[in-house]
């Protein structure tokens, strides 16, 4: 799990040299889904196409990245572009503060039912 190994292509090669997303609102747990009524991009890159196909149902960014076998940091950049252009929706913006009491209680109730 902590092994060192080479990677054939640097991720930013696939994002036209950008290492950072256009916005900072997508995290590994952020839920993404394609709006079925939204138009498809006219000339998507192969990564954009793969991500849009993957997000035909709702998935977190981390799940989409794992299924596509791409690094999370790369998929954040791809997803941000698609969110900006309206081709991909973010279900809930990630929180910057600790979860409120009501949400923690829901999590607790759910874990107790496991």
């Amino acid at each position: 799990m902590d092994d060192y190994r080479d990677h054939p292509v640097r991720p930013y090669v696939l994002t036209s040299g950008r290492a950072h997303p256009s916005r900072n609102t997508i995290r590994p747990e952020t839920l993404l889904v394609v709006d079925p009524d939204a138009p498809r991009p006219i000339a998507p890159t192969s990564q954009q196409k793969a991500l849009l196909e993957m997000c035909g149902g709702m998935l977190s960014l981390a799940e989409a990245a794992a299924h596509l076998r791409l690094p999370v940091s790369l998929v954040v950049v791809i997803a941000s572009d698609l969110v900006d252009t309206g081709h991909l929706q973010v279900r809930a913006a990630p929180r910057h503060t600790p979860p409120p009491v009501e949400l923690l209680e829901k999590v607790l109730d759910g874990l107790r039912k496991l």
Binding site: R27, L59, A62, V72, V101, V107, L108
Partner: protein, 197 residues
Amino acid sequence: MVSASSERYVASTVAQSVKILVVGAFGVGKTTLIGSVSEIAPLRTEETMTSASVGVDSLAGLDDKATTTVAMDFGRITVNPEVVLYLFGTPGQRRFWDLWEGLAEGAVGALVLIDTRRIEDSFEVFDQLETRTGIPFAVAVNEFSDAPRYGPEQLREALDLLPDTPIVMCDARHKESSAQALIKLVEHALHNTKALT
């Protein structure tokens, strides 16, 4: 992945996601714990970091750049029709936080998994959690059959933990045991949050 696509996706009724970090040294059982409670088979994602060597440039060029891969295994629990919980398993050492900055932001907290045969492996994990994240955490002792047994207070002293930090014994292979450890963490986070409001 072998799971059918119907199981792959999050229920369309879900409106928000929350996360818990499962942190611990290599081989301590993070993925086992996540797998025991997750509704999906644990998934893995990897990040690559290139760090140029310090010092004089080598004529060999690329050879002096070391590439580090840091993996993260994770699972998912739909806690109710509107809320999904992600469990992110992270090694928690310094280079991990360098690469995954912001992962702790907005998290419920961290469950720190330790192995009493190698307690010293967890020192960096605690150090990093306290200095880099500030999120609430609980300690789960994964009780390997050949591991020495210590009481919670002995461990609290050895790990220099605060009096209110929960310590729970668990067997990460078993769903009920893993769930109980997560429950202790969320109860602790809830208690902290209520104390602040």
